[in-house]
Amino acid sequence: MQQSEPIPAASPAADDATRRPPVSRARGRPSLTICLLLPALLFLAIFFAYPMVDIVIRSFAGPAGVSLANYGHVIEHPVYLRVFQITFEIALTVTIVALLLGYPLAYVLASAGRLAAGAIMGCVLLSLFTNILVRTYAWMIILAPEGVINQLLHYAGLGGADLLYNRYGVLIGMTYALLPYMVLTLYSVMRGIDRKFLQAARNLSASDWKAFWHVFLPLSLPGVVGGSLLVFILSVGYFITPRLLGGARDQMIAMVIEQQVELGANWGFAAALAIILLLLTTVGFLLYDRFVGLKSLFESKV
């Protein structure tokens, strides 16, 4: 194959990808790539693309053909906009708290010896392996007015804290449930950071802290971006934890959608809420990309 342009050294992968499919052989016969992708494509078409299209259609369905009534309903009733606002507030808070808690944990995990790393990893994974309902009920017991935390606060003479069926309960429960995703994403990026970079920084007169700040932190940013995105996406659609640990004022959008389907069999309105959630999330990503950049997530700098 003729190469008309010099290939930028930065993207050898892209070069491979454009060069690999042999044009002459692909003619008439489906290429290996297509055949290998087929099962996944079929699955996605049936279980993802079709329901997605169906939701869009339903959201525009009115009593007489196509209508914007479902969307109008959302806008006319501020309560729904308030639910969206609460949903994003909670998701953002959970993401930030999970990042603040997860980053040091992942750092220790990535730099610990094999035994210590194994023990920490075991704890992180154990919480993932346990059923989410079991874990959420456990939190209900811990956070209850007569629960462990309140008893400890009482003994310490600090009075009691209202932690269940309110925003605190939701935040604690969700951060706990989503922390492993943050830690694992960060860990996988941190593990790939060559310790030689830190040695080089130290050799060039950077203290521990400066080496971390100028070298390790920037190199771990893909993990920060990836982990935050993952936790935020999972948070926005979270259902069980806010349902069990939250109060009436902490309704998240997934709960409202569920109510519309279960109680009102209001499929069209539920679909409209889902579409709005999707659009808002997409806009959020675009803003995030604009100001933080998703680029680092996909390109390896090392």
């Binding site: 050294a9 930065a10 080089a200 130290r202 050799n203 060039l204 007169s205 950077a206 070298v215 700098k301």
Partner: protein, 376 residues
């Protein structure tokens, strides 16, 4: 070694480095044992050895990344074993270069200056000078991954010397470059070392590199220094079979001493009954077993040395002829020995073929008697 302190503002010179009984043990495993080495100010010393010989561990202890299990390191006559790496003020070029991938070339080179809180304008000037020195001017804004291996190597070197360290450590810096580029960079490194008058401690497993660049070489094997000396000394007078075999190529011939003359020249009988003479610097008595090493290029073929009456002369049969480009390599079987002979004589190739009988001659002076007879 420590002269009067240089006057203020005078150009700084390389600092002496002294290793004293340096040890590194990982549990039962000793990576470095009792390494004692004195490097003079401005000297270029190479730690040479195969992988696992402890040379890199030794360098990492000097840099401060690997804590020593015992012994002391003196840089400029100050003990530094308990000084963290960031306060040792050493330049270092890593094997993988370790250029920060999220910084440009200029930011990489400026890093040590920023850490030392240099003023901005001065940093810019220094970075440009460093790039000039490694012959990469104008590359300030490139990312490391946009550079070739050789260019990355130069940037790594620029970053290591930009703050004018008195000691520069190099860990196999040319390992991943091709032969031509490697030879070119060897000369460049020597030029920069002399220009900046730095002490250099260089680690490599490449004996040619060590012989070309070093003032002195410390050959390491299983955690110990086997021999320290200048390139010619190591090549001509290896103390043991390991050094003789690791640096260059050697024919090893062992035997029993039958006679020692007053000038130290000894007659040695090989187990096949063949006798040869060796001029050793080693004290031996008749009856002792010795191992000698003879360089392939010190052996000559045919009747060429008939003029030298003292030469050893054995007869054998050619078992292999290898064309090397600038030379020919012969393998000659003599009794149960096979000697390797390297010759520049291309005409000989036309006159000889495998199976021919041929004479092998060498001078007793070119026969190195090894101190200890450890296996190569």
């Amino acid at each position: 070694m420590s002269g009067p302190a240089p006057a203020k503002g005078a150009p700084r010179h390389g600092a002496p480095v002294r290793l004293q009984g340096l040890e590194k043990a990982y549990g039962e495993m000793h990576a470095v044992r009792d390494v004692t080495l004195s490097v003079a100010a401005g000297e270029f010393v190479t730690l040479l050895g195969p992988s696992g010989s402890g040379k890199t561990t030794t360098l990492m202890m000097i840099a401060g990344f690997v804590p020593a299990s015992g012994g002391e390191i003196f840089i400029d006559d100050r003990p530094v074993v308990r000084v963290p790496p960031e306060r040792r003020q050493l330049g270092m070029v890593f094997q993988s270069y370790a250029l920060f991938p999220h910084m440009t070339v200029a930011e990489n080179i400026a890093f040590p200056l920023r850490m030392r809180h240099w003023p901005r304008g001065e940093i810019r000037q220094k970075v440009a000078m460093a790039l000039e020195m490694v012959k990469l001017p104008g590359y300030e804004d490139r990312a490391p991954r946009q550079l070739s291996g050789g260019q990355q190597q130069r940037v790594a070197l620029a970053r290591a010397i930009v703050f004018e360290p008195r000691v520069l450590l190099m860990d196999e810096p040319l390992g991943s470059l091709d032969k031509k580029l490697r030879e070119h960079m060897q000369a460049e490194i020597k030029r920069i070392q002399q220009q900046l008058d730095m002490t250099v401690i260089y680690v490599t497993h490449d004996q040619d590199e060590a012989l070309t660049m070093s003032d002195r070489i410390a050959v390491m094997h299983s955690g110990r220094i086997q021999q320290i000396g200048g390139p010619t000394e190591l090549y001509d007078e290896p103390v043991n079979a390991f050094v003789a075999d690791f640096i260059g190529e050697s024919n090893f011939v062992s035997g029993t001493v039958t006679e020692v003359e007053s000038d130290g020249t000894m007659a040695v009988r090989h187990q096949s009954g063949l006798v040869f003479r060796a001029a050793g610097h080693v004290a031996v008595r008749p009856g002792m077993t010795v191992v000698t090493a003879i360089r392939p290029e010190r052996l000559t073929l045919g009747a060429a040395t008939a003029a030298d009456p003292g030469a050893n002369r054995w007869a054998g049969r050619i078992s292999e002829i290898i064309f090397l480009g600038d030379a020919m390599k012969y393998k000659v079987a003599i009794e149960d020995l096979t000697l390797t002979i390297k010759t520049q004589d291309r005409d000989l190739g036309a006159r000889t073929r495998v199976g021919d009988e041929i004479g092998v001659c060498w001078s007793p002076a070119h026969t190195a008697v090894l101190h200890d007879a450890s296996d190569p």
